[in-house]
């Protein structure tokens, strides 16, 4: 045994070296292509690259009716037709790939090789622009907050009624809707799902209180499918959708923009909008820019500040840290007859607007008005001058990126002043305060890493950057920790129940009462015969429908326990039936009754035998908790998915992998050791009188025992244990006939 271990240990470094070599090889090859790509870019900067010649390959999640969706096998929607039109204009054929998860579209485009563009209601944001390029916007949009019809009015009147921990709000992972909820309802429980339809299903069944997603999608769904739901509030975000293109392919972006312009000019876009939304948005936006300034009254009017928030800039966390760049979002409604021509914002001392960029959004109702502005920063104040005065009654939003809050942290209020078109000055009321914190250790590590030469060298290799970005790895570890604990908690709490239930059903399965046997086999077969994913969906969406409302985490524990119990019932049944008949006979001949036999003779032996298989099942269950992320349990995968959608980088998944392995690798090792011990015990290892090794001990009668240990060795996973379980009855019959 010891020798074996030595061999294994010696082999381990070899494996490590091999994998490092592999990683390096991949990295170098990646490096090579990127370098050549760089030089090629210069040479033929005007030529766009396509994955398939003559084809515009589009990837989308196809889950946002009426933008993009599947009807049976056909891909339909506004966006789908738009992409076809654009391709036509570019002289290309448009080809849609099969639907992909929303959070994986940007990484797919970034990596290249699979699709040329991504079109799936992508709101143009700076975060995303860091990873990929956007074309010009093809449509303006807003977000919609959906609740059950009955609750819509109350929530619509005041969204803050949702701002408490007991409100679960479903959003689509990595969307502007998610950021809106995180910024505006910080106390609510946010559940990030893969597609908006799942979010609506959840609201419909009562699993979630509300859902936030793209307004057109929500409106369409509430009208056509989820008639029991209603859009409680239209959230004016003034966002715009663009098509995602790789940064490596600027020529394609250019070509798409050109085609988009043509579509706008020749009325194709209007036609499509009319067809799919019943509204021609183009017409509206055409009328907006005539913000007529007739007669100046000289009245200062008033400006009410509705919001001031900062984007969390703690990597992987949700804190706003002072002293590092973040984005300030400031919103106000103007009631100034003459129109506002400039706004000056002021933050407490220590804050800095130097080097920031400002985005101006003006909304009249839900309609976006295009007004440009120029910003001038000086220390803790910034002045934004607008090209045309902002008409009265409109919502003004300033998003100031790359600004800094005072580094010591604290509560910050935005104050300042404004100037009307008539040159009258007015003071801005103080905004709600923004809470910021001093720097965190994690952030310090990240900043230190940012400054390291080796880190930048490492990150210049695309593969390493995509999968093992050091900064992101550090922050992922920190922010995934909670999810990891929840995974462990779920499986650790679920397991005792699974064991108890499993034993119960195993006993029922071998009971002499036909009814009990029947019940047990129905239970076991249904649970083993359907995917866990399906069971999770049924439990999470089904139970609230019948009026049972349980906390998501507890529900997760219940589902895991029930699912695992079916597998364990079979493991235990096989274990019990693998105990040789002679054991029962020996117990009987001593006069033991059935219960005594079971508890003093059979079960203790069974337990020893099933330990490896049950441990394997435990490993499987632990990994399977990842499926709970699909219904919004905040476990490991959920956190890493969110981080990936925000960062467009795969590294958080790698961190998750490490978290899984921390638990599974030692357990796998334990299984190996236990199996070896078992095998040794059954072959008669251990201390031996007189040093003699009676290899033939317990031969014949222990036939079944040997079979089981052989199977046990093979049973690394559930499939094997299932086979084992299936084989057991035959084995035991054979034993009886012998």
């Amino acid at each position: 045994m010891k020798k074996n271990n030595c061999v294994r240990l010696r082999r381990l470094p070899a494996i490590l070296v091999a994998s490092i070599v592999l990683v390096l090889a991949l990295g170098i090859s990646g490096c090579g292509t990127s370098a050549s790509g760089g030089s090629a870019k210069k040479a033929e900067s005007q030529k766009m690259t396509l994955v398939h010649k003559g084809k515009l390959t589009v990837v989308s999640d196809l889950a946002n009716p009426p933008f993009d969706y599947m009807e049976g096998q056909t891909k339909k929607g506004f966006e789908v037709e738009l992409m076809q039109e654009l391709a036509k204009k570019m002289g290309l054929e448009c080809e849609y790939l099969n639907p992909m998860k929303f959070d994986s579209i940007i990484p797919t485009i970034k990596q290249g090789g699979k699709a040329d563009v991504g079109a799936s209601n992508f709101t143009i944001t700076e975060e995303r622009q860091k990873e990929i390029d956007f074309t010009n916007a093809y449509i303006d949009s807003n977000q919609g907050l959906v609740t059950a019809k009955g609750a819509a009015d109350q929530v619509g009147a005041d969204t803050k009624t949702l701002d408490n921990a007991s409100s679960t709000i479903a959003v689509q992972a990595g969307t502007t809707g998610e950021s809106w909820v995180k910024e505006n309802l910080p106390n609510a429980t946010v559940v990030a799902l893969d597609d908006p339809i799942a979010a609506l299903s959840g609201v419909s069944t009562g699993l979630y209180k509300a859902a936030v997603a793209d307004l057109p999608v929500m409106q369409y769904e509430c009208k056509n499918s989820y008639t029991d739901l209603a859009v409680a509030k239209e959230i004016p975000t003034g966002e715009q959708y663009g098509i995602v293109v790789s940064k490596e392919n600027p020529a394609l972006t250019k070509a798409l923009n050109k085609a988009l312009k043509q579509c706008r000019k020749d009325g194709t876009l209007s036609k499509l909008e009319l067809k799919w939304f019943g509204v021609d948005y183009e017409e509206k936006s055409a009328t907006t820019s005539t913000a007529s300034v007739s007669s100046l009254s000289g009245d200062a009017g008033s400006v009410s500040v509705s919001k001031a928030t900062a984007r969390p800039n703690e990597d992987g966390g949700d804190k706003v840290i002072g002293g590092i760049n973040t984005r300030l979002t400031w919103e106000a409604t103007t009631k100034v007859k003459d129109g506002v021509s400039s706004v000056t914002l002021k933050l407490p001392k220590g804050a800095s607007f130097d080097g920031s960029t400002t985005k101006v959004t003006v909304l009249e109702g839900l309609k976006r008005v295009s007004i440009d502005g120029s910003a001038k920063a000086s220390g803790n104040t910034i002045t934004v001058k607008f090209e045309t005065p902002i008409p009265t009654g409109s919502l003004l939003r300033l998003e100031i990126t790359d600004m800094k809050f005072p580094s010591e942290g604290g509560k910050n209020k935005v104050t300042g002043s404004y100037t009307t078109a008539a040159g009258v000055k007015g003071n801005l009321p103080a905004s709600p305060s923004i809470k910021t914190s001093a720097n965190t250790p994690v952030q310090q590590i990240v900043m230190w890493l940012d400054g390291q030469a080796w880190v930048s060298a490492w990150n210049s290799v695309p593969f390493l950057n995509m999968f093992f970005k050091p900064q992101l790895l550090v922050t992922s570890f920190v922010s995934l920790f909670g999810g990891w604990l929840l995974c462990l908690l779920i499986v650790v709490v679920a397991y005792p129940f699974a064991i108890a239930l499993g034993l119960l059903f195993a006993m029922m399965r071998i009971s002499k009462f036909r009814v009990l046997r029947g019940i047990a086999s129905v239970y076991i077969n249904i649970l083993r015969g359907t995917p866990l994913f399906l069971q999770i969906y049924i439990m999470f969406f089904g139970l609230p429908m019948v009026g049972i409302n349980i906390d998501n985490n507890i529900l997760g524990i219940i589902v895991m326990a029930i699912n695992s119990s079916a597998y364990q019932a079979e493991i235990y049944r096989a274990g019990i039936q693998s105990i040789p008949r002679g054991q029962y006979e020996a117990a009987s001949s001593l006069g033991m009754n059935g219960r005594q036999t079971m508890f003093t003779v059979i079960l203790p032996q069974m337990v020893r035998r099933v330990i490896p298989t049950v441990t394997s099942d435990f490993i499987t269950s632990y990994k399977d908790t990842s499926l709970l992320s699909s219904v919004g349990v905040m476990e490991l995968m959920m956190f890493s998915k969110n981080l990936t959608t925000v960062s467009g980088n795969i590294t958080p998944y790698m961190a998750a992998a490490i978290y899984y392995l921390i638990v599974t690798l030692p357990l796998i090792k334990v299984v190996g050791i236990v199996e070896m011990r078992l095998a040794d015990a059954e072959n008669g290892g251990g201390p031996r009188p007189g040093g003699k090794r009676a290899t033939k001990s317990a031969e014949g009668a222990e036939e079944g025992e040997k079979n089981f240990s052989a199977d046990g060795k093979a049973s690394a996973g559930k499939s094997f244990s299932a086979l084992d379980a299936l084989a057991a009855p035959f084995r035991s019959h054979a034993g009886q006939e012998a």
Partner: protein, 287 residues
């Protein structure tokens, strides 16, 4: 619970069990010259088998077996493989359910008894198996103790003392804390004998106790059995192929073949002057 039922019962015509007094008289008349047993006046057989039939699905294994065993008697059952001798033994403590016929322990009919009564009955019938069937998760000592504690409800200390006594008797006191897989086959079988004896049963049934053993280990086990036979006064029914043991120790030898008792008698009679051709052939082959 353990799925042993379900055998088809063939309609075998069997007369009702004889009256105890009458049966004892008939048995005495039949057995008095066949055994070295010293009959006491008015003694009744401790185990009485009348018209025992056993059929596995469609194969008859025992056909009208009649046998009486007297208190303290050592009966060795011989016969070729498949002659039904093990099945007969297993019928006695109802590990096999007889298809038809009567088995009486101390004049009490046991065939057709309820499950709880079967457990009570089995306390009085120790059994030693060909495959030992020790409980592998318990030490030798625990193996010998478990029946006393669980079934006889003896206090643990008392059971331990008794268990140590029995292990000593089979020469394995120094192996008390070993688990079965750490013991040789012969040692395991001796522990199994200690386990059976510790229950102080009225009868011990030995089902080919040495067949699974290496030849050099057989002697130890036979010595223990011989010791038991000579000194304990316990009734023993031994199914074995050990002719030497049968000749030395048995009060009576029973020869079975084809599910029928072909011949029985004093060991020297059966071995030296077998009455039937079949017995002659069998003994000839063995020797």
């Amino acid at each position: 619970m353990f799925g042993k039922n379900g055998h088809r019962i063939d309609a075998v015509e069997v007369p009702p069990a004889m009256d105890a007094q009458e049966a004892a008289r008939v048995a005495y008349e039949r057995d008095k010259n066949l055994t070295r047993h010293h009959f006491k006046k008015g003694e009744h057989p401790i185990v009485r088998i009348e018209h025992l039939n056993k059929t596995f699905t469609d194969t008859p294994v025992l056909r009208d077996v009649n046998l009486d065993v007297w208190n303290g008697e050592i009966v060795v059952v011989l016969g070729p493989s498949g002659s039904g001798k093990s099945t007969m033994l297993r019928c006695i403590n109802l590990l096999e359910t007889p298809t038809a016929g009567h088995i009486l322990i101390e004049d009490k009919e046991i065939t057709g008894t309820k499950k709880t009564d079967v457990n009570m009955l089995r306390r009085d019938l120790g059994m030693v198996f060909q495959g030992f069937n020790l409980f592998p998760h318990m030490t030798a000592l625990e193996n010998v103790m478990v029946g006393q504690v669980k079934v006889l409800k003896k206090p643990k200390e008392e059971a331990r003392v008794e268990a140590m006594k029995q292990l000593e008797a089979v020469g394995l006191a120094d192996r008390a804390d070993y688990k079965p897989p750490q013991l040789s086959g012969g040692q395991q079988q001796r522990v199994a004998i200690a386990r059976a004896v510790a229950m102080h049963p009225k009868v011990i049934l030995f089902d080919e106790p040495t067949s699974a053993l290496d030849p050099e280990l057989v002697r130890d086990v036979l010595n223990v059995m011989r010791d038991l036979a000579l000194h304990s006064g316990m009734t023993m029914i031994v199914v074995t192929h050990e002719m030497g043991f049968a000749r030395d120790v048995a009060d009576r030898v029973v020869f079975m073949e084809g599910g029928v008792v072909v011949e029985q008698g004093l060991p020297e009679e059966v071995f030296d002057h077998p009455k039937t051709q079949r017995t002659k052939e069998f003994l000839g082959n063995i020797r």
